[in-house]
């Protein structure tokens, strides 16, 4: 007898993207719909939580319907609904969570909750197998910079994290200093490609055995460099400054990831999160892990930013483990990965 395919609907509303997707058997993407609000938030130079929540409630059913139509699935076909429980903006999370619960009740479909970062990691599984454990994940985004060790599916141990700003946060702050439009990260990446990293900026290695990160000192150094140059009437090439900043971030990210991979004897390194879309970072990681016997997996750009396909993929793991959420599920803005 042929086993029924596992079909999961993923829903993600943790920040400024309203997203729904359908994933088959945990690895096969059938549809991936994202309604981005970036144009709306641009006016304010960053995501405004109340406005994000308003957009989510306007978009939510439209996005889910589109994902289901594109994948050609009906409610009866769904094995489960997977929704981001946290972390994220509380008002934004609530829309996805309540919408998912309403669907689960209306059609008697099992509900699973997903940690947003687990989602970012499992975005990789839609592209390449993730079966080589232990596995190391480098998660870099606007809110996160973490090294996560996975001994098996669905098990997460944070072995390194940022002590101050996340890498993406540092990018945004430096972009604001350079008066670049929001969101600043991609602009710096582009400018860095045009400039050369000849300005001396610090690298925060912290203690020799630590896999933690720190980017606030670097951010301050960039601001000071600009300030001092201005006072002395010296012109600084912004492309060179962007390149130097990016060089400093990437060098630390790549080296710490490599050292952690060696120390824990991992077979596969997975890169995840919005900053994984950064071309400079992708290139340097690829070079560093070449001919090391460690498999490096970086999802394509469109899977690095927030989407619901990754939530469905991570949801599949939870579903297979038999974990279920009930009608009391709530959005949890500070949800921790290790507790999850």
């Amino acid at each position: 007898m042929q086993e029924k395919d596992e079909i999961i609907l993923g829903i993600e509303t943790s920040c400024d993207e309203t997203a729904a997707a359908i994933v088959k058997n945990g690895t096969e993407l059938l549809s991936n719909v994202v309604a981005s609000q970036i144009e709306s938030h641009k006016r304010f130079g960053g995501v405004v939580p109340e406005i994000a929540s308003r957009h989510h409630v306007e978009q939510i059913t439209i996005v889910i319907e589109e994902a289901m139509k594109e994948a050609d699935v009906e409610f009866d076909d769904l094995s489960a609904i997977a929704v981001t429980e946290g972390p994220g903006l509380v008002g934004a999370l609530l829309i996805g969570v309540n919408s998912a619960k309403a669907l689960a009740l209306a059609h008697s479909i099992p509900l699973v909750s997903v940690h947003h970062i687990a989602g970012h990691i499992y975005a990789n599984r839609l592209q390449e197998p993730m079966e080589e454990f232990p596995l190391l994940a480098l998660v870099v985004s606007g809110g996160h910079t973490e090294l996560i060790l996975m001994k098996e599916h669905g098990s997460y141990e944070i072995i390194g994290e940022t002590r101050d700003d996340a890498a993406g946060e540092a990018y945004d702050k430096v972009a604001r200093t350079l008066k670049l439009p929001y969101p600043g990260g991609p602009h710096i990446d582009k400018m860095a490609a045009e400039g050369s990293p000849e300005i001396d900026l610090p690298r925060a290695w912290l203690e020799a055995d630590s896999f933690d990160f720190s980017f606030s000192g670097l951010k301050s150094a960039v601001i000071n460099t600009l300030h001092n140059a201005k006072q002395r009437g010296i012109e600084i090439n912004p492309n060179d400054l962007a390149a130097s900043f990016q060089e400093s971030v990437i060098e630390v990210l790549v080296e710490k990831t490599y050292r952690a991979a060696r120390e824990y004897g991992v077979k596969q390194v997975v890169v995840a999160g919005g900053v994984a879309a950064n071309k400079g970072l992708r290139g340097r990681l690829t070079d560093r892990f070449a001919n090391t016997g460690i498999q490096l997996s970086i999802p394509p750009l469109w899977l690095c930013t927030d989407n619901a396909a990754m939530i469905a993929a991570a949801g599949s793991i939870e579903y297979q483990k038999g974990k279920r959420a009930d009608m009391k599920l709530n959005g949890n803005p500070g949800l921790e990965l290790e507790a999850f």
Binding site: E50, V57, L103
Partner: protein
């Protein structure tokens, strides 16, 4: 017609089920407890109590605001999703109109209100004209004192309703004197049964395009618009 009515727009959480113009079930709480956690279990329980499946419903009715922005969105998200996925219409009713129903037999004007912070209130005015209880003044958010100024030249008594009244009662008494009448404890909770009764008599809307009625822009948006005008 069988319909489910949901109100999470303010502190009172209400759910009710109406079947052929008979209210068959109603659940109301008035506590500072998370609607996001409690709404879906309340719906599941009430449907179970009245022996109904979600698939039996012909319509979802929701209090669309004004009220707590987050509160309104919880109810509206659930209502939109249930209506769309069950392929049935959604009907929105003003949260103020629901509350005003508690005074529909009052001989005079009825003023439902929710606190809007910084001296402001969300409010409107209802009353009986030609034996029909209807809207007399459009809903709005404004300073309480300006609102009282708007309604004070009418000679009728005004019944004030709403759980936020303790914040404003003194000022209202000062401005309106004995023309102001205040509801009793049971009159201040909006009732989901009233919401259901209002909703079944109205047109259904498309769940995809259904939006809450906030009556107020997000603060960042208001500031941005003000700056654009400069």
């Amino acid at each position: 017609m069988k319909a489910l009515a949901i109100d999470t727009s303010n502190l009172v959480m209400g759910v009710s089920v109406i079947s052929d113009n008979k209210i068959v079930g109603e659940l109301t709480t008035n506590m500072k407890k998370n609607h996001s956690v409690r709404l879906m279990p309340a719906i599941a329980n009430l449907l179970g109590e009245v022996d109904m499946q979600p698939g039996d419903l012909d319509r979802i009715i929701v209090a669309r605001g004004p009220g707590s922005f987050t509160g309104v969105r919880i109810g509206v998200s659930v209502a939109k999703t249930m209506a769309w996925s069950l392929n049935i219409p959604i009907t929105g009713v003003s949260s103020l109109e629901v509350l005003a129903q508690n005074g529909k037999y009052f001989d005079g004007a009825v003023c439902p209100l929710f606190d809007g912070r910084r001296g402001q209130i969300y409010t409107s005015l209802y009353g009986n004209i030609d034996n029909r209880f209807q809207l007399l003044q459009d809903e709005r958010i404004m300073q309480l004192v300006d609102w009282i100024d708007t309604i004070k030249d009418k000679s009728r008594k005004v019944l004030f309703l709403g759980n936020d009244l303790p914040l404003h009662r003194e000022k209202i008494e000062e401005l309106l004197g004995d023309r102001a009448v205040f509801g009793q404890a049971a009159d201040h909770n909006p009732r989901a049964s009233e919401l259901a009764a209002l909703g079944v008599a109205r047109d259904g809307e498309n769940p995809h395009t259904f939006t809450p009625s906030y009556l107020r822009l997000a603060e960042a948006e208001a500031k941005w618009l003000a700056n654009q005008k400069k």
